[in-house]
Amino acid sequence: MISQSREHSLLEAITADPSRKVYIPQGRSYLQNPPGTTFWQGVASWVFTLDHKRIGVMYLCGVMFSFLLGGLFAGAVRMELWNGTPDLLGDTLQTAQDNYNQMFTLHGAVMTFLFIIPSIPAALGNIFLPMMLGAKDVAFPRMNLASFYLWCSGAIFFIATLLTSGLDTGWTFYTPYSTTTSTSVILATMGVFILGFSSIFTGLNFVVTVNTMRPKGMTWFKMPLFLWGIYATAIIQVLATPVLAITLVLLMCERLMGIGIFDPLLGGDPVLYQHFFWFYSHPAVYIMILPGMAIISEVIPVYSRKHIFGYTFIAYSSIAIALLGFLVWGHHMFTSTESKLAAVIFSALTFTVSIPSAIKVFNWLATMYKGSIHLNTAMLYALAFIIQFTIGGLTGLFLGALAVDVHLHDTYFVVAHFHYVMMGSTLIAFLAGIHHWWPKMFGKMYNERLAQIASGLVFIGFNLTFFPQFILGTQGMPRRYAAYKPEFQFLHQLSTSGYFVLGAGLVMAAAVLIYSLFRGKKAPNNPWGAATLEWKCCSPPTTANFEIQPWTGSPYVYDDFVFDPDEGGYVEVLPDLHRSAAVPAERPAVPATH
């Protein structure tokens, strides 16, 4: 934390000698084309772009559209559950229930495969991972673009699924139902297969970029923690996703040819499918949450104006979560013919995941302790993350405990648990990241007050939607049912009301951000005083990111940053070369002013 007096003296120093401000050259935004570009050239410059930031922006649009789609499906589910009789989604009981099955399946599949897995790594990671490394691009720019187009084709398959006979298997495609239902399982699994390769290529790119393109001076343990989180995620993406791919190939073969691997009627083993599926999909849970944690690890120190507490532990805990995540898939099958021994082992391993997760939470709290906390929108979302992730994580322990899980399996308790982790944590972290990096991505400041109000609505709406579901689950309300007993109605109605509050909050947040694109103030280079490299270039950056290679300092030391009213943002102050003898050896002796 910076003392008031130090801040004051820095401000005095730059007023007296403006050349002590680190010079950041301005240039043409990566979003713009050179003057004289025709419309179609402009379109082509986006379609064939190899710029990681433009690809990230395209991903951002894509995943937000998917989120909207998945959110509308969720709305259909919640509104159907307003009362206990399935009547909203169809005229007869049968059609209403069939359509309900379609709605929750499509909600889950779209949210999981199209939104949440690519959300943080492919959108924000693509934009900021190379910039945090001071690099010009990811290691394989063309593969990066290819992965975006793979994502698009996967999305097209999903849309084709929607337009044909839909999907009603649940997002998990469990056999034998998925081999017998008449809905478009092949189209959907083909979509997931392609999305998987998109995810693999993104992960591969990130691992190679982090390994080979770190700037001089940035050793592994001087990397921003966002990179550690994304790196751990990328490892899971590369190693787990292919197992899902081959599982889906086998599922498609099962449907097309009846190969009898998963279908019990043909001699196959449906539980084998569950093992294969969760061997990917449990690590995939960490593909979803690790990038969220990575964002929170960036946001909290910046807005607490204090060095991150326990850097090494947070870094290692990301890797630990990634590795342990591969060993716990069996806890999804406690109730499906798993041997008692295997169940006990998987249960114990599941508990171990809570250790690195708790390490992160405690370190974030310790970072905030005695910090100078600025309750900006990103920080509000980060605080919401800590609360909701704690609830989501602790209820995960209930489900990891064998005896409790038998009762809670397939109830709303599970639904509430994973929504607290997936939505209450990952989505909230995604929103924190978007608000934190918005000025850098688009060069505009949004209305802070309105964004804070939106974050409050999101927090209230989220908890109103999902907290009642914990209670419903413990009372025995099973998941995936369109009908329920009258005594559950009050809690279901609370939950549905929460959906509308949450939706209002999200729409408001989106409106505030989109409005800023058109009417927002121009963003300064470093509005929040962050010390990571992506803030050491202009907002928005140029195509090459850094016109002058930035000096790689510690990502969490804020001592040299001070709010400069002239710039409307923070500036980094160089040491006084005339008076101070304590000049860091690596720092350029002459400030790079051009």
């Binding site: 043409r28 050179p34 064939f48 772009t49 190899l50 001071g134 690099a135 010009k136 691009d137 990811v138 290691a139 394989f140 720019p141 593969m143 017998t180 591969l204 691992v207 190679v208 970029t209 390994n211 080979t212 393109m213 700037p215 001076g217 590369v238 190693l239 996703t241 292919p242 197992v243 791919a245 081959i246 599982t247 190939v249 086998l250 073969c253 040819m257 009846g258 190969i259 009898g260 691997i261 019990p264 009627l265 043909l266 001699g267 196959g268 083993d269 449906p270 539980v271 084998l272 294969f276 499906s336 013919t337 140029t542 195509t543 090459a544 016109e547 290679q549 790689t552 790079a592 051009h594």
Partner: protein, 416 residues
């Protein structure tokens, strides 16, 4: 850290700059250096690490299949032992040798790239292409042989004891395909050779490579046909369609095959085929082994689950409203013409065989495309001792494809 002077001007667009092989004339020195790397060494390390990660991904992709294989072999070893007699060990061995030779050649080619020996890069890679196509030729003959016998994957498994299946009969086309492949392949090779000698080096080598592929495919079929006639042909030569499927295995395994026990082996692992009118056709004569003979006196309901009742299967049967004890499943549920028994049998083994070798064959075809691309670039003289990353990466990929086969061959063909 790069000094600012060596960075691109702000106006420089990244278009046209490639990560490992693009042209970039921004004054970095080497034409193969992409704009966002600092030097060739960094680019080489990135490309190589990327390839190893891709290979790790490939290994895990195949590992799902190997895991399925392991689980079912663990549960049903007798099915695997029985069914694998239908695989031709000689052809499998031929393919193994072909792939090992190709791996040697491509490793030699990488070495040649390091030594700036363009001619050897081209020769070794074209040889590798030839091997790959030979492999596919042999695979084609193996698959045809299986389909001729009615051995397909899953629902296409219609084996009825060595009879030639009308559904899957196109073995007669293979000699024609072989002859045309050889003729066309030789012509294309010749055309490529003429081009190459007329200073159109790239076109010449690429055309030559494609020609070698077509030629080798045809040669592979000839080789396979010469090494081992198909069972369909044996049946025709012998003039009867009776059970004889084990005849080609007897010399290979060196153990006498027991006489088929007609009528008693209703529930052998070779999947009894139940006809639509309810009659049960004994299906497994050809491959009946001593274990089957030993089981022949057991009541069918016990043979259904020789390892003890499988809970999931039992549950599913109840769910589907089936009567236990091997009665025909309700065919409406699956939309199948002939219902299969709800137990793991030869159809399942061959499903695993076709999926595993099929996925492997897809990788061979991808390898052929990648190697042809390397040939084109080598012919254009783009590689040097400083820049040979694509050669190395394609070589690594090819070794992996080879390695997968090295595991597949014993696991499928050499079971005891």
């Amino acid at each position: 850290m790069a000094d600012a002077a060596t960075l691109d001007a702000p106006e420089t667009e990244p278009h046209g700059a490639g990560h490992d092989h693009g042209h970039d004339d921004h004054g970095h020195g080497h034409p193969s250096l992409a704009h966002h790397f600092e030097d060739l060494e960094q680019q080489f390390q990135a490309g190589k690490l990327g390839m190893w990660l891709f290979l790790a991904q490939e290994v895990l992709f195949f590992s799902g299949l190997f895991a399925a294989y392991t689980v079912y072999r663990w549960h049903y070893p007798e099915v695997f032992v029985d069914a694998h007699h239908h695989l031709n060990k000689t052809l499998g061995a031929v393919n193994t040798i072909v792939l090992l030779a190709s791996s040697l050649a491509i490793a030699w080619g990488v070495r040649a790239a390091m030594r700036n020996d363009r001619r050897t890069i081209l020769n070794t890679h074209v040889f590798t292409l030839g091997c790959a196509a030979l492999f596919l030729g042999v695979k084609a003959i193996e698959y045809t042989h299986k389909w001729d016998e009615g051995i397909g994957a899953g629902n296409f498994y219609k084996f009825t004891g060595g009879h030639v299946s009308a559904d899957w009969y196109f073995g007669d086309y293979m000699p024609g395909i072989a002859i045309w492949s050889i003729v066309i392949g030789a012509l294309v090779c010749w055309g490529g050779a003429i081009w190459a000698s007329n200073a159109k080096v790239v076109k010449g080598w690429v055309t030559g490579s494609i020609g070698v592929c077509i030629l080798s495919f045809g040669l592979g079929i000839v080789l396979a046909k010469c090494v081992m006639p198909t069972e369909a042909e044996l049946a025709r030569a012998e003039g009867h369609g009776g059970p004889h499927a084990a005849s080609h295995d007897a010399p290979a395994t060196g153990k006498p095959m027991p006489a088929p026990a007609h009528g008693e082996l209703v529930q052998t692992s070779m999947s009894a085929e139940t006809t639509t009118d309810g009659q049960t056709a004994p299906a497994a004569e050809g491959v009946a082994t001593t274990e089957d003979a030993a089981k022949a006196d057991q009541p069918p309901s016990e043979v259904v689950n020789p390892e003890g009742a499988n809970v999931e299967i039992a549950k599913a049967e109840v769910v589907q409203g089936e009567a236990p004890g091997g009665e025909p499943a309700a065919s409406e549920t699956l939309g199948q013409a002939a219902p299969r028994e709800p137990r793991f049998g030869a159809a399942n083994f061959f499903s695993i065989y076709f999926v595993m070798t099929g996925v492997h064959a897809v990788h061979i075809i991808a390898g052929i495309i990648a190697i042809t691309w390397v040939v084109a670039k080598a012919a254009a003289d783009e590689f040097s001792a400083e820049y040979f990353l694509p050669v190395e990466n394609v070589g690594l990929y090819w070794h992996l494809v080879d390695l997968v086969w090295i595991y597949l061959f014993p696991l499928m063909y050499l079971i005891h």
